[in-house]
Point group: C2
Chain length 657, copies 2
Amino acid sequence: MSSDYVTQKGQPFDRAAFESLLRRKVFLWQSFEPYGSVKGLFDYGPPLESLENEIIQIWREHFIRTEKMMALKCSMLTPYEVLKTSGHVDRFADFMCKDPKTGEILRTDHLIADVLEARLRSDKEARGEQVAEKEEDPKLKKKKAKAAKGAVKLDDAVRDEYNHVLAVLDDYTGEGMGELIKKYDIRNPTTGNEVEPPVSVNLMFQTQIGASSNAPAFLRPETAQGQFLSFQKLFEFSDGQLPFASASIGYSFRNELSPRAGLLRVREFLMAEIEHFVDPEGGKKHPKFSAVKDIKLPLLSRTTQSSGSTKPEYVAIGDAVASKLVDNETLGYFLVRIMQFMQKIGIDMNKLRFRQHMENEMAHYASDCWDCELLNSYGWTECVGCADRSAYDLSVHTKATGVPLSARETLKEPYEVEEWVAVLDKKKSGPKFKKAAKDVENALDALAQDMKEKLSLDMEKNGKVELGVESVEGGKVELEKDVVTFEKQKRMVTTREYVPNVIEPSFGIGRILYSLMEHSYWTREADEARSVLSFPPSVAPIKVLVVPLQRDVRFKPLVEQLEAKLDAKHISYRVDQSGVSIGKRYSRNDELGIPFGITVDFESIEDNTFTLRDRDSTKQVRASEHDIVRAISRMIKGKETWEEVAARLPAFETSQE
Amino acid sequence: MSSDYVTQKGQPFDRAAFESLLRRKVFLWQSFEPYGSVKGLFDYGPPLESLENEIIQIWREHFIRTEKMMALKCSMLTPYEVLKTSGHVDRFADFMCKDPKTGEILRTDHLIADVLEARLRSDKEARGEQVAEKEEDPKLKKKKAKAAKGAVKLDDAVRDEYNHVLAVLDDYTGEGMGELIKKYDIRNPTTGNEVEPPVSVNLMFQTQIGASSNAPAFLRPETAQGQFLSFQKLFEFSDGQLPFASASIGYSFRNELSPRAGLLRVREFLMAEIEHFVDPEGGKKHPKFSAVKDIKLPLLSRTTQSSGSTKPEYVAIGDAVASKLVDNETLGYFLVRIMQFMQKIGIDMNKLRFRQHMENEMAHYASDCWDCELLNSYGWTECVGCADRSAYDLSVHTKATGVPLSARETLKEPYEVEEWVAVLDKKKSGPKFKKAAKDVENALDALAQDMKEKLSLDMEKNGKVELGVESVEGGKVELEKDVVTFEKQKRMVTTREYVPNVIEPSFGIGRILYSLMEHSYWTREADEARSVLSFPPSVAPIKVLVVPLQRDVRFKPLVEQLEAKLDAKHISYRVDQSGVSIGKRYSRNDELGIPFGITVDFESIEDNTFTLRDRDSTKQVRASEHDIVRAISRMIKGKETWEEVAARLPAFETSQE
C-alpha cells in the first residue's frame, strides 16, 4: 500500500528517511524516553509545537471568528453519569484477546487481520506471485519471520474466504470474531499460543474525582459532550436565535490497547470540534450556502464505494445537495469550509477526498456522515469527521437529567388547537393520595392525547379509570369521576418547542499535522539528496533564517539590526552562525521548513542590502533591509507570493547552493 | 480581608454583583451543571475562552518568541515511575480527616483553621469586639450558624495560642495536626462529630495506561517533568549551548479534596511553565540583565515578612541582585519580565507584588523562590512561582534511569590532572570473580580519590585490600596485589561535564485570568450602576461593537460593509441590532469588555461617516469608515492610544449614554 505513495514531486516516499528527519530536527518523539517510552504518547518539540499553534490560530480565524462561532473550553475530567448517558460507557470499546501464557493483550481485529494477511502473503509466495512488503515494526517483523514456516499455498476457496473476511472485518461482533478465531485456528503470531475468547474493553481512561471512591470519572473521549451540556446557556446568550455553532479546541483521550501507526493512533490528542445547532424543520439550510454552491469537491459516495471503486468524483456542492448525495446545505457548507481550511494550511489537494460513511458505519442516530480523508504513507486517513448527529445527544441528556436542552420559538402566527385535558380536583386527590398526589397529577399530565380520549370513554362507561403511577404500591391507582374529569379544551399555541439537530465537524489535529508534514516533504536532487519541508509561509514554525556569510565580527551589527527589525514585526527567525558553508546551512534549515533566508555578506556592510532566498525554488533576490523585511512580512500574511516578490525585486545569482 | 478590596476606581468590590456578571455574560460556570455540577471544574464560555487565547498568544510572543525559548508539548498522562522519582508520589499530598458517621472528607488544615477561627470570632463577640465577616459559601454558613451555641469567651492564653497555631499551621505535619485536633477537641463543624486522625492523601489523579493493570499512571501535577526528560534532545538541538530555556503551555491536574475559592483552586488547570537551564558556575548571569537593571519591582522580602510587615519595597532589580536580596541575575531578569507581562495584559500594578518564600516554604533543594502575587477579593494570590530548582530534577532522573541528563562543555584551556587510578589485571580477575568480575571493576572505578589513595597505602602495608561489592556474597571481596595495583596517573582534562541548574517561572493561567477580570471590573455611576470590564484593547475578547441607531432596512448595507471591512482586518466584532436604546446596548456590551463601539446613524447613510466610542471614557469621535477602522486596528496593536485618536479625529457630542 504505502509503496505507491509518492511525495509532492512524484518521488517514492521514504518513510525511514522522513522519520529520521523528524527525530533529528526534534519535531516529535515518544514520551518519557529515559524511562523506556510509552506507546501512543508523543511529545512535540519546538518545530511541531509551533506548527500546531499556527494551525490552531488559522483554524480559529477560519472557523470561530469568520463564522461567528461560540468558543468553549470544557472540562476533560468527566463524571461517569455523563458518559453513561452519551453511550460511551457501553459502546466506546474494542475487543481484545489475551494470550494466557504470556499475558499479552491483543486487539482482536488486528490479530485476525495480521494472521490472515500473513497467510495470504505466504500463499502468494507459494504461488510465485510478487509479495508487497507490509511496513511494520522491524522487531515484530523479525519475530514473525522466525515463526513463519515457509510458504504455504491455500485452496482457492479458502483464499477467497480470507479476502472476504478481511474486507468486512469491521462489521463483526466480538462473538463473531471469536468464531473466526476458532474456525481458522488463529493464534498469537509471536508465540504460537492459542488466545482466550474476545472480551470487550472500554477505551476510556478511568479515574476518580475527590477522595472518596463514589465519584468515578473518565477522561473525555471527545469534546462534544461538554458542548451539548452548555447548549441552554449559549442559546440564551445568542438571544434565542438558531442556528448557531459552538466550537471547542481541546484534548481527548482513548486508551488504545495496542497503539500503532505513529501519530495516527494515539492515546492523548488535540481535537477541534464544532457543534452546529440547527432547527430540523426547513431542510437544515445554511445562510451562506449560495456563496459556495459552485465549488467542486472530490466526493467518494456510498454508491461508488459499493461498486468497488475508490475514485472520487468532483461535484459542485450545490449539485450534490440538490441531488441529495449530500444530505443538506449545512453539511455541504461545512465540507467546503473544511476543504478550504486544508488548502490554506498547505495540504496537497490531490491527497484529499471526502468519503461518505456506509450505512453500517454510521451511528444509529446519524442521518449522514462524510469523512475528510487525507492520503499519507499509511493510506487514506480520516482526519475530519463531519456527521449529522440529529437530536440524539440533546435528547438523551434531557431525558437523563430532566433539565431541558431544547429551543423555544415564538410563532409568527399563533394557532388554536383543541386538546383532551385531565382536570384533577385537588381538594379530593390530596387527602386521597397524600404524598403520591403530585405523582398522580404528573402521570395524568404525561398521558398522550389518544390515552386521554380513551380514559374519557372508560370513565363514561365505568365511572372510574385506572392510571399507572410508578411510585405507589402496585404501580397503579383508581380514579373516580368526582376526582378527575376528561374534557376537550381549546388552547392558543404561541410557541414551538423543539430539540435542535447537530451537525458536527470534528477535526483530529494530530492526524492533520502528520499528513501535512508528509505532504510537505520532498527531496532535492543534488550531490546528495537533501530533504525539504515545504510548509507555506503562514504555517511554517520559523519564518526566517539569518545567515552571515562567514564568522566575521563585521557582520555582528548587521545581524543584530536584522534581529531587531524582525522582532519589531513579530516575525520568528533563527540565526545560524555555525562555521559550515552557506549552502549547507540553508540545506539543513530547509529540513525545518524555514521558507525564507537572509544572507549577510560583504556587500551588506557596504550598502546595507541583503539577499533573500526562497526555500522551494532556491532563487534569490537582493534588496535593502527595509524592502526585504517588508516582502517577508507580506508573504507570511499571504498578501504576496514569492513569484510576485521575485518579479519586482532584482534577482541575485549565486553558485552557493 | 476582602471587605477592604476595592475596584480600580476605588469603589468597594461587590463580589456577588461581579459573579452575577460573569454568569450572565457566560464567562464561566461550573462544569456539568445539568448533572448537578462538579466542584473544582469550570467551563469557559466564549468571552473567557477568547480572553485566554489572547493572553496565551501574548505570553508566547513575550516569552517564547522574544526570548527564543524552545516550546514543547509533553504528555499529560505520566507513568508512575517518573513521578515516583520526582517525589510527587510521596510528597504531593494533603492531609484529610474523615467524619466516620457521615463519610465526609475534610482537609485537615482547613478543618483546624475553620474551627479555631470560629472560636476566635465567638470570643470577639463575647468580648463585644467587632467581628469581620468571613466570606464563605452561604450554605455552609447557615449550617455553622445552626451549630453555633452563642458567643463563648476564651481565656487570654488560649486565644493567644489559637492565634499562634493559625499563624504557623502550614508548618505542621499530619501527626502534629492530629495532636492539635485532640488537644483542642476539634470536630466536624457541620455535624459536631469527632473525626478520624489525619491521613495523607495523594492529590494526583490516578489511572492506567493500556489494558493490563501493571502500568499505573497519573495525570501530571505540573508540566515540568516532561521538559526535564527532554533536556538532552533540546541541548543537542541548541548545538550544546547553555543557557537555553524550554517552555510549555499545557494542562495539569490536582485532585483537590475540597475545592474552594472559585477559579483559584481547581482540579484541572492551564499552566505556562518555563525551565531555564543554566550553568551553575559563574553566578547564573543573564545576557540581557543589564537592559533591565534599573527597573523597580515591589519586593516583599523574607526579612520584611519576618518583621511582621506586608509592605513591599520598590527596589531596582540591579540593586536587589547586587545586595543578594534576589539570588542571581537570571532570577532577577525573569521577575522583571513577569511584571512586564502582567502590565501588558492589563493587571493593576497596584495589586501586584513579589513575595519571597520563607526558608521553610521552599522545597529542600531550592536556593531562592519568589512568587508574583496578585491582589484580588480573596486576598494576595500566588499567580506565578519563580523558583531556582537547582540541579535537583535532572539529577534524580539521571540517577533513576541511568540516562544522563547533563551538559558537556569543551574546555577552552585543557589542563592536566594527576589522579589515583586502580589498574585491574583482567586476566586474573576474570577467572577469580567470574560473573562478578565486571561488578568488581565498577566498584574500583567508583572509588573516590581519597579512598583509592587509602587503599594504595593498605596494599603497600598488607599486600591485599578489601573492597565492597554489593552483588557478591558477604558484600565484599579481597584483592591481592597481583590482581590490582593503585597508581598515580596524569591525564589531560578537555571537557567538563555538569548538571545544569534550572530557574523555573511557572504561571497559573486561570488565576491570572480571574485576577485580571477582577482588576478590570468597576461600575459606572448612572441612574442605576452599570458594570464595566475595562480589558485593554489587545486582550479584549471582542474588539468592536457595531450598533445601528435603530431597526431600519436602510442601515443594513452599511452594517454589512462594516462587517466586511472588519473581517478583512481579522478584527472580532459583535453586531447588536436589538430594539433597545443605543445607550442600553452600549451599556450591556461594556459588561463584555468590548473596547470600541461604532454607531451607524442617518448621517452615515448620507456621508459614510460613523461615530467611534471609547468604552472607558464613553467619549466619541466621528470620521470616515476608513479612518475609524484604521484607528481601531492601530489601538488593538498598541500603536496608538484612545487619547491620541481622540486628539486627531473630530469629537462627536451626544446625549445618548
